[in-house]
């Protein structure tokens, strides 16, 4: 008997699948908004088990993927400055800018540190008073409270050498843009559990009220995802459209007011560019007055320049759920995790990387 084995999954999954099959009497296209869901769905082989009518589409919830190449270029420009240490999350290292990546810059001698927590960047600034330390802060609502806390901590410690290049984005405005665009047919949403821990249920209610679609805030274990799918099918059966919380062991209906408080104190919403989705109103975060002296975009000469997507790259369409990764002509030939063209092949949360790593040739997983 393997002591490292989890006991319940094998028993409960068939029950949930039976219930799903009983409700799947007509096709239903569900979007999993979050990249962590995309990966979990592949890793557990969920696609191979669903009845044919239930289709899962990957959405824009990969923070690295939606960061436009122009912002990568700005981070690269920062990293080339004298006496600069650029701190960033590991996922961003390989994302191609217009002509280089942070990984290539590091290989050429730039001081770029991969960190796990924004507070690590504050620590680096404190330990290197003779250097300028800039944190390239990419992320959604999940990450923003921690970035806000780091900014406040840098202020509290009086660090004059700490800066933030803010490339944070908010999920609900992107979902509104996606639905308003009307390009993709979606019958329901598997909503991101981690983001919802912070924002709660209310910011999603427009999905049900204005667009008449069901949503389920869902956890990341295979059984959570199966239950989330079941809840969405059950809403259709019962003629309801509302936002339900599957992930109730972690997500409170009101979210985490304290985390939102810190976010609101430090950041103000601002229009932001998304790869594939264009500029979305009030979907980004900028440092408020009182903290704006730490804003790297203001402090340094790093103008933003629009970068055309590489020829053939369909990351923008993939992020909107308009095409599946294998439908891109570069997928697996011109674009691989070793030599990526678009960000969706780079990030561990990216749809293309997930399809490439887990999905190729595995029968039902191609669906």
């Amino acid at each position: 008997m393997n002591p490292h084995k989890s006991p319940d999954e094998g028993k409960l999954a068939p029950l949930l699948l039976e219930n799903i099959a009983a409700l799947a009497d007509s096709p239903m296209r569900l979007m999993e908004v979050c990249g962590t869901h995309t990966v979990a769905i592949f890793r557990s082989g969920i696609r191979s088990m669903l009845p044919p009518g239930v289709e899962l589409i990957s959405g824009p919830g990969c923070p690295v993927c939606v960061t436009p190449a122009g912002e990568i270029d700005r981070a690269i420009a920062l990293s080339r400055k004298e006496e600069m240490i650029l701190a960033t999350f590991g996922d961003l290292m390989r994302v191609p800018g217009s002509s280089s990546s942070l990984q290539e810059e590091r290989a050429s001698g730039a001081a770029i540190r991969v960190i796990l927590s924004p507070l690590d960047a504050v620590k680096i600034a404190e330990e290197n008073p003779d250097k300028t330390v800039c944190f390239f802060g990419v992320g959604f609502e999940t990450t923003s409270p921690a970035i806000a806390a780091a900014v406040m901590e840098a202020g509290r410690r009086g660090l004059g050498n700490f800066y933030l290049l803010s490339s944070q984005r908010l999920i609900p405005p992107a979902m509104r843009a996606l639905l308003s665009g009307g390009g993709v047919k979606i019958d329901g949403f598997i909503l991101p559990g981690h983001v919802s821990v912070v924002i709660g249920k209310a910011p999603y209610c427009f999905i049900a009220e204005e667009f008449g679609l069901p949503g389920a805030i869902t956890g990341f274990e295979p059984l959570d995802i199966l239950e989330g799918i079941y809840l969405l099918l059950r809403q259709r059966k019962e003629g309801r459209t509302e936002i339900e919380i599957q992930y109730s062991r972690v997500v409170q209906e009101e979210g985490n007011p304290r985390a939102r408080g810190i976010m609101g104190e430090v950041f103000a919403p601002v229009d932001a560019r998304w790869r594939g989705l264009g500029t979305i109103p009030q979907s980004g975060l900028v440092l408020r007055e009182g903290f704006s002296q730490m804003d790297a975009a203001q402090a340094f000469d790093i103008p933003y320049a629009e970068v055309e997507d590489p020829p053939g790259c369909l990351c923008g369409e993939v992020l909107q759920g308009l095409v599946r990764p294998p439908e891109c002509s570069l997928f697996g030939t011109g674009c691989t995790p070793e030599d990526p063209v678009g960000p969706c092949m780079v990030s561990t949360e990216g749809s293309c990387a997930a399809y490439y790593k887990y999905g190729r040739g595995a029968g039902g997983d191609e669906r």
């Binding site: 002591p3 989890s6 094998g10 088990m49 796990l116 190729r360």
Partner: protein, 339 residues
């Protein structure tokens, strides 16, 4: 010896070089073949029946030099002994080349040498040849070690990555990923703390115990860089067979899994330095498993899958919830993710 450091003079080939070898290296690896200090060690064959040699080399540049469960010295011995063992070979002799950075505390060198001595004794292997160079401060990170080894393969053993056959049973010798997670945590970069110890160990004794009950083991690999996933993929591709792995049977410690969840790492790609993956005929599997579990390094050995004629070149994973997916080899480097 306290506070003494390696200097460039230790590598100049003169008196200090000689003293370094006499004082630290020779007493540590003491044996007749090394003691001769000739340009080559001359090794007698152990058995006249065996007419095949296994020969391997590897360089060790691990950071930090010391980590829970091991250090660069133990790693350098185990890595090469294990490469020999995966061919079913018994080590005849090892070489060890050292690149020392100016400024390396002699105390650290002593610790590393003592650890190499310990690992070599565990393996029943001798270091019969060696070399030392010193580079200026900043040109290396403390110490780099390259080891090589020759071993003799028993006549009835024919292990190879291309030898797996449909129907074979696949086993691992213990929980996976301990080494890489232990080293990662010891680096302190991610402010992670835990009690995971490296699995770093010489596996030749375990392999001998396995071969004793089943000389016809088909394939053996130690899943170092690239981990279990890469090794399985290489074997099924060389052997032109498929394999079905029962994901729920792959042993991974809770702590290792937790760190992987946090960083977005896949545990099947983590490096191990004291684990093996074995493919063998089904009829012998029970006896081999029993022999492994009776050995100190195989106590948690377990069967994880079986070889199929279908899906050649593919590693199919059956997930605990009853789904399936492909397991691909590692591509690039695993980076910690954002959320």
């Amino acid at each position: 010896m306290k506070d003494k450091k390696i200097t460039l003079s230790h590598g100049a080939g003169g008196r200090l070089s000689h003293d370094l070898i006499e004082e630290y290296f020779l007493p540590c690896f003491d044996n007749d073949l090394l003691r001769a200090l000739d340009d080559s060690a001359v090794i007698p064959m152990q058995s006249e029946q065996a007419n095949r040699l296994a020969f391997t080399t590897d360089s060790y540049v691990v950071k930090p030099l010391f980590f829970p469960g091991g250090d660069i010295g133990r790693l350098a011995i185990c890595g090469t002994v294990n490469d020999l063992a995966m061919a079913g070979a018994r080590p005849l002799g090892l070489s060890a080349s050292f690149i020392l950075e100016e400024g390396l505390p002699i105390e650290d060198l002593e610790r590393i040498l003592a650890s190499m001595k310990g690992a070599a004794e565990e393996a029943g292997a001798r270091v019969v040849a060696g070399d030392t160079k010193v580079v200026e401060h900043g040109a290396a990170e403390g110490i780099y070690i390259t080891t090589a080894g020759v071993g003799q393969i028993p006549e009835d053993v024919a292990i190879g990555s291309a030898q797996a056959k449909p129907g074979d049973v696949v086993m691992v010798s213990g929980p996976l990923g301990d080494h890489e997670i232990a080293v990662l945590m010891a680096r302190g970069e991610f402010a992670l703390q835990g009690e995971v110890e490296s699995d770093c160990a010489p596996l030749n004794g375990l392999v001998e115990a396995m071969l004793e009950v089943c000389p016809e083991i088909h394939s053996l690999r130690d899943p170092t860089r690239g981990g279990l996933a890469t090794v399985l993929w290489e074997i099924v591709n060389s052997s032109k067979v498929g394999v079905i792995i029962d994901e729920g049977e792959i042993p991974i410690r809770d702590q290792v899994r937790a760190v992987c969840d946090l960083l977005g790492f896949d545990p099947y790609y983590l490096a191990n330095e004291g684990r093996l993956v074995a493919f063998m005929p089904q009829g012998e599997a029970k006896a081999v498993l029993k022999a492994m579990q009776a050995h100190p390094l195989g106590g948690e050995a377990t069967i994880i899958g079986k070889v199929t004629a279908e899906n050649p070149g593919k590693v199919l994973l059956h997930t605990p919830i009853g789904g399936h997916r492909l397991l691909e080899p590692l591509s690039g480097e695993q980076f910690p993710r954002i959320c």
